[in-house]
Symmetry: C2
Subunit: 125 residues, 2 copies
Amino acid sequence: MTDTAPSAEPRSGPYICGIDAAMDVVSGKWKSLILWELDAGTRRFGELRRGLPGVSEKMLIQHLRELEYDGLVHREVYREVPPRVEYSLTELGRELNAALEPLAEWGRRRIDRIGAERVELPATG
Amino acid sequence: MTDTAPSAEPRSGPYICGIDAAMDVVSGKWKSLILWELDAGTRRFGELRRGLPGVSEKMLIQHLRELEYDGLVHREVYREVPPRVEYSLTELGRELNAALEPLAEWGRRRIDRIGAERVELPATG
DNA sequence: TGCAATACTTACCAAATGGTAAGCATGACT
DNA sequence: AGTCATGCTTACCATTTGGTAAGTATTGCA
């Protein structure tokens, strides 16, 4: 297998607890951010890339593929030229995002508390 | 700086969003598990090690130090021989754990859904 | 004297993760 | 024929992360 080949099916433990199992699908530098972006609606590959400042194409597809295998995002290919591929959240993905919301809120308070810098995101919705 | 030297102060972004800031303090193979263990009460170093099957001493202290710097755990040293060191959650740590609960619940359902294996934890209390 | 217990500390190494940059396929447009 | 756009794919490399195993310090106890 090569460098970028993603696993062929959902990662599947063994896990010590629920956190362990949830973190497994969310860990990766851009995954939660991708989920967040998609929560606002369907996005094309290029739109996602532009919406996530700093992500490389390699990592973006790699993460998208893993999220797809884990059943969190849906990939729809339109056979056009130039190609069009749209990504959206599955129901499972939306549930995960909901479960991430309290964590996001905690993080926002942490940013305020420690006065961390914020990265400006070009508005995406 | 050597291999194991932890950073001297809380990690501090810049962050893209709350998730980003929260994940930053939780990511690390054992961190959420350590938090989970400590949620049940104060633990000595050795107790934590025995409670987390597979963790190495190096990673355990490294993660504990980072959690301490990030203000999530409190470290209390008793000058005895042999030494005794007790770790416990701070209020901030308890808040983080609360924010992690929905994610844990999602993860538990994921384990059931995909029929993932579970690792047996020796009972720690 | 020598070993046990506890909480680290260190050196070294392997695997995982992520980045850069170039290449590929297709068809419309010039 | 050459360029553009899009969505990848690949090779290669650097950094990060985590593991193993040995060593340190202190004092009680056999």
